[in-house]
């Protein structure tokens, strides 16, 4: 018999960010005293430059049914713990360095195997379809995870408008590589620009989100502003940030991490607890903010929606 019944948390019951931050400040204050806290802010550069950038609400965002009933990862963690190598390889680097990124004006070229190629300004992209808030799990290939309220719409909305031809088997995403504003691009940690790709059916899947916001606001630069991809059933590196070109192609694109280390990062990169990274296990993950590790779910918990895309494929071979 269950003595304590613990229902799933409704999204309406999720602690708002402001309240959470207040609680966090309170706990910090209680632990070390207000004086210590003030000095701590001077010593610890967690409130990074980009994190201090002005924040802008997105208008007309409606809630979406694509929402997991799990506790949100705090805004502070979502915006200061990032992998965005164009701004440095440390998790704290993007929040420190990404303030240099110019997100206006911004255009995305959509081209390749389609009837109506187009160059879209970011303003057009924001108006192309109604903005939805979707709470997705994010699972990084490094075995940590978050739950994030993204704002955007299905990538398929955009792709449909350019009318892909029958030859469009894959979609290639090219992201900005500007050595002027991106210190990481001046180094050689990866081959720039960062390129990612999806099979056309993956790209057209309603879960695949073209993302312009987070927490109801315009995306912070360190999270891939002004427009990025979020593919929740794949490891985070598939979700390209700061996209400048979307190309419909016939052949499987060469993607950045796959080119760099093909034995470790496959093209598909579906979250799979049974296929380990060569250097570490993928069976478990640490949800940011939690102490104990939790089990990683097949397709990051989206198996019901996406497993059918891979029927008959050997997922050990096509990792």
């Amino acid at each position: 018999m269950h003595l304590i019944h613990r229902p799933d948390i409704a999204s309406s019951e999720i602690t708002p960010r402001e309240t959470w931050l207040d609680r966090r400040r309170f706990l910090g204050g209680a632990a070390a005293g207000a004086l210590a806290l003030a000095a701590g802010d001077l010593l610890v550069p967690t409130t990074a430059q980009a994190a201090n950038a002005p924040r802008e609400k997105l208008a007309g965002v409606k809630k979406s049914g694509w929402t997991v009933p799990e506790t949100l990862t705090p805004y502070q963690d979502v915006t200061t713990y990032n992998n965005y190598y164009e701004f440095g390889t440390d998790k704290a680097d993007p929040a420190e360095n990404a303030h240099t990124l110019k997100t206006r004006p911004w255009t995305v070229r959509v081209e390749g195997e389609c009837a109506k190629p187009a160059t879209l300004g970011i303003e057009d992209i924001l108006k192309l379809a109604p903005l939805e808030e979707r709470v997705y799990r994010l699972r990084c290939v490094e075995a940590w995870s978050m739950v994030i309220p993204w704002v955007g719409y299905s990538l398929s909305e955009l792709l449909k408008r350019v009318e892909p031809t029958g030859n469009a088997k894959f979609v290639e995403f090219t992201t900005l590589a500007d050595p002027q504003t991106m210190p990481g691009v001046r180094g050689r940690v990866l081959q720039w620009p960062y390129v990612e790709g999806l099979r056309i059916d993956e790209a057209m899947h309603p879960l695949t989100l073209l993302t312009m916001g987070v927490y109801g606001e315009v995306l912070p630069n360190q999270n891939g502003a002004p427009v990025r991809l979020v593919v929740p059933w794949k490891y985070g590196f598939k979700s390209a940030k700061s996209i400048v070109r979307i190309r419909l192609v016939e052949k499987m694109p060469t993607t950045a991490w796959n080119r760099s280390q093909p034995s470790e990062y496959g093209f598909f990169a579906n979250v799979n607890p049974e296929v380990d990274h060569p250097r570490w296990s993928q069976a478990k993950e640490r949800r940011i903010g939690e102490f104990r590790k939790r089990d990683t779910l097949p397709f990051n918990g989206y198996a019901e929606q996406v497993a059918s895309l891979y029927t008959g494929m050997d997922l050990r071979k096509w990792f």
Binding site: A36, G40, T89, K91, R188, S260, Q261, R279, R292, K293
Partner: protein
């Protein structure tokens, strides 16, 4: 140049009658400085933990910090002999144990953080990882090799082990190599953070090799 006998006859230099029990004033000052310096990384972690400053992934932060400081202090330990030879300040050998034990202290924290906080006593998973993941295999081996060094660091153990003490303690040359390998195997391709530590290990071990070669040549000359 001061004769180089790296750790070969430490008992005689440490016990030599000319050295006062507490060491010179300079040595005592250096000891205090090193104590403070070696405790600072821990103080910083405690401070950050108390002020919510460990970031989004505190467990990873602690792991990286204690791992990095283990490596730094290990390398500092390996600096003692070259510095002694360069400066001629023979007393310097008497801070070596202090540094070595602090390196062990931080690797201990690193290890406990892994077992308790990161893995939460999931023994099967840990065992599997140590066997299967090269970065954990070498990291674990490095930790195991440091154990006997820390356990035999007392004067009594050194007296009891006689010549074997110096033999045993040559393991200190292996540990940082394992530490650097552990680091390289851990980071993603292209990340260069382990590079400076690698250079330091190569230089410090290279120094020993050169000193040994010089010694061999001297022996050969004198034997003629």
């Amino acid at each position: 140049m001061v004769p180089a006998a790296d750790g070969a006859t430490p008992a005689t230099s440490a016990n030599s009658a000319s050295v006062r029990p507490g060491g010179s004033r300079g040595l005592r000052a250096l000891r205090i400085v090193l104590w403070i310096a070696c405790l600072l990384p821990l103080a910083r972690l405690v401070w950050l933990a108390a002020t919510n400053g460990l970031g989004a992934n505190p467990i990873e932060f602690i792991s990286r910090s204690t791992g990095t400081w283990t490596l730094v202090i290990l390398l500092a330990t390996l600096c003692v002999t070259p510095l002694r030879q360069i400066t001629g300040w023979t007393e310097l050998v008497r801070v070596r144990r202090l540094l070595g034990l602090f390196a062990f202290f931080y690797v201990g924290l690193h290890f406990i953080n892994w077992i308790v906080v990161d893995q939460f006593f999931d023994w099967p998973a840990m065992l599997k990882d140590v066997v299967k993941r090269p970065f954990l295999t070498v990291g674990f081996a490095g930790f195991l090799l440091m154990l006997p060094l820390a356990l035999t660091s007392t004067d009594a153990a050194r007296r009891r082990l006689k010549r074997n003490w110096a033999r045993l303690h040559t393991l200190v040359y292996v540990v940082p190599v394992l530490g650097v390998l552990h680091y390289w195997w851990l980071v993603k391709k292209g990340v260069q953070t382990p590079f400076p530590y690698t250079v330091a290990v190569v230089v410090l071990l290279g120094w020993r090799v050169l000193a040994w070669l010089r010694g061999q040549r001297k022996v050969a000359r004198e034997g003629r």
